[in-house]
């Protein structure tokens, strides 16, 4: 069992607080209850794993806020980072 941390109930990602390998179960607590995610990929420590599926084009939520947009469909248990998330702020040249 590996540990994860969710910051806000609206978040659709969980931060893993230890190194996670594909096949591990990530446990996190929300409102006093424990939830599990089956890791489909490796996730480095302090990086993010999807706690629900995130359709392509929809918001990635962390801290209860939109931190980016999914650029491809993301399944529950997948590693969430620069390869599948795009920044939303304006590009300044």
């Amino acid at each position: 069992m590996k540990c994860g941390l969710i910051i806000d109930p609206k978040d659709n990602v969980v931060v893993v607080t230890e190194e996670v390998k594909s096949g591990d179960t990530v446990a996190y607590r929300l409102d006093g209850r424990e939830f599990h995610i089956a890791a489909l990929q490796d996730v480095p420590v302090y990086h993010k794993i999807a706690r629900t599926s995130i359709p392509e084009g929809s918001a990635v939520m962390k801290y209860g806020q939109i931190i980016g947009k999914a650029v491809e469909p993301i399944e529950e248990g997948q590693y969430v980072h620069c390869h599948n998330v795009k920044c939303m702020t304006k590009e300044v040249l």
């Binding site: 941390l5 302090y46 939109i66 980072h81 040249l93």
Partner: protein, 388 residues
């Protein structure tokens, strides 16, 4: 909620009782160090500026110098100038008088006839001022008299995950109880400024939040740089930060969830009527950011660091907090509070926020932080441009 502090004639309350030997410029800075070194209870700091500056650049320096003297942790100030600097002695004393009526004396090296004569006179004056300061007794005051400065430096992912949310909880507690909490480091809310703007009290504050971010970005563009390019940095991304919004959201968590009441420019005097969460426009650079808030009137700081840093402040206790358990173990000599239990589900942000509040009150009431006890007083001042 109450704390013990020293009442000042200007109505503010200090949690320390220093006599400040204030250098107007770099040319008098070593002299002030020597004076402070002769008198127990007198302090000074390294001033690299105060001369060869254009007006817009000099204004930041002048505001910091005057603000330091006005800071409630200071009983009184002895100003020491060389005599010919841009930050002229009478300009500095006038700027101080506009902020406070506390004891104030001054000496000019070129008029006294060199450093040894200046040090002799200023040391006597400081000795007498420290003796008077010793007569001020601590009294109980409501927490509404406290202004907290918040800061992050040497950040890693744990900063946004644990340390900053705990600081944010502390900020909310203080705001609920009628105190003032300062969110700073304008460059570290680029990417999340709209979120902050939406928490503004009114349209005017909202516009100011967006304006200080825009202003800072324009400053870099004028210098041929772009603060958004390459942000998050490769180091941030390797650490787990994916987007600029995510990084800045981690930083702004120091501000908790309160409504933003006002926005202050760098080192300006914070008005007593501005209670609650406020923003001050400061750089991400730690020492100059804290100097700005100290000049505004903050009596105490809480500073998160994922990697660990020893820096302090010449006039205020700095409570160091980290969310990184490894860092806490490695640098326990310099870090006061371990927020890593949040990451391992051992304690909640709310629980640690309460514990941090308890440490804050103890520190107000006299418990020295590690940076304070070890004598760290790093000071830097924001710049508008190069020296002339």
């Amino acid at each position: 909620m109450e704390f013990y502090g020293y009442a000042r004639p200007d109505g503010r309350v200090g949690i320390r009782n220093y006599v400040l030997i204030l250098p107007c410029s770099i040319c008098s800075t070593d002299t002030t160090r020597m004076i402070a070194g002769q008198v127990e209870g007198a302090v000074s700091f390294n001033n690299q500026l105060g001369c060869s500056q254009v007006p817009s650049d000099m204004q930041y320096t002048l505001d910091v110098l005057a603000g330091f003297a006005a800071n409630p942790n200071v009983y009184g100030t002895i100003v020491v100038a060389i005599g010919c600097e841009t930050c002229q002695c009478d300009m500095v004393t006038e700027a101080i008088r506009q902020r406070t009526n506390k004891p104030l004396e001054s000496f000019i090296i070129q008029e006294e006839g060199g450093t040894i004569r200046t040090i002799e006179k200023a040391t006597r004056a400081a000795r007498e001022m420290v003796a008077q300061a010793g007569l001020v007794q601590k009294e109980k005051f409501p927490i509404t008299k406290l202004i907290l400065g918040t800061e992050c430096g040497g950040s890693d992912p744990t900063s946004g995950l644990a340390a900053n949310p705990v600081i944010g909880k502390l900020s909310d507690i203080l705001v609920e109880n009628g105190s003032t909490s300062i969110l700073s480091e304008t460059t570290e809310f680029i990417g999340a400024e709209q979120i902050l703007a939406d928490r503004a009290k009114n349209e005017e504050v909202k516009a100011r939040i967006l304006d200080i971010v825009e202003r800072y970005e324009q400053h870099f563009i004028r210098n041929g740089e772009n603060v958004r390019r390459g942000n998050p940095t490769p180091g941030n991304m390797a650490g787990g930060l994916t987007t600029l919004e995510e990084k800045s959201l981690g930083c702004i968590h120091k501000g908790g969830s309160s409504t933003i009441q006002a926005v202050y420019d760098y080192a300006k005097q914070i008005d007593e009527k501005d209670k609650g969460l406020i923003i001050m426009d400061t750089p991400g650079n730690d020492a100059s950011s804290m100097a700005g808030m100290l000049a505004g009137g903050a009596q105490i700081f809480v500073f998160s660091s994922g990697r660990g840093t020893p820096i302090g402040s010449p006039l205020a206790p700095v409570i160091k907090i980290t969310g990184n358990r490894h860092t806490y173990q490695m640098m326990e000599d310099n870090i006061d509070f371990d927020a890593s239990p949040v990451l391992f589900g051992e304690k909640t942000v709310d629980e640690l926020g309460e514990e941090l509040k308890d440490l804050l009150l103890e520190t107000c009431n006299g418990k020295k932080t590690k940076a304070e006890a070890l004598g760290f007083t790093e000071t830097a001042i924001m710049r508008a441009c190069n020296f002339v």
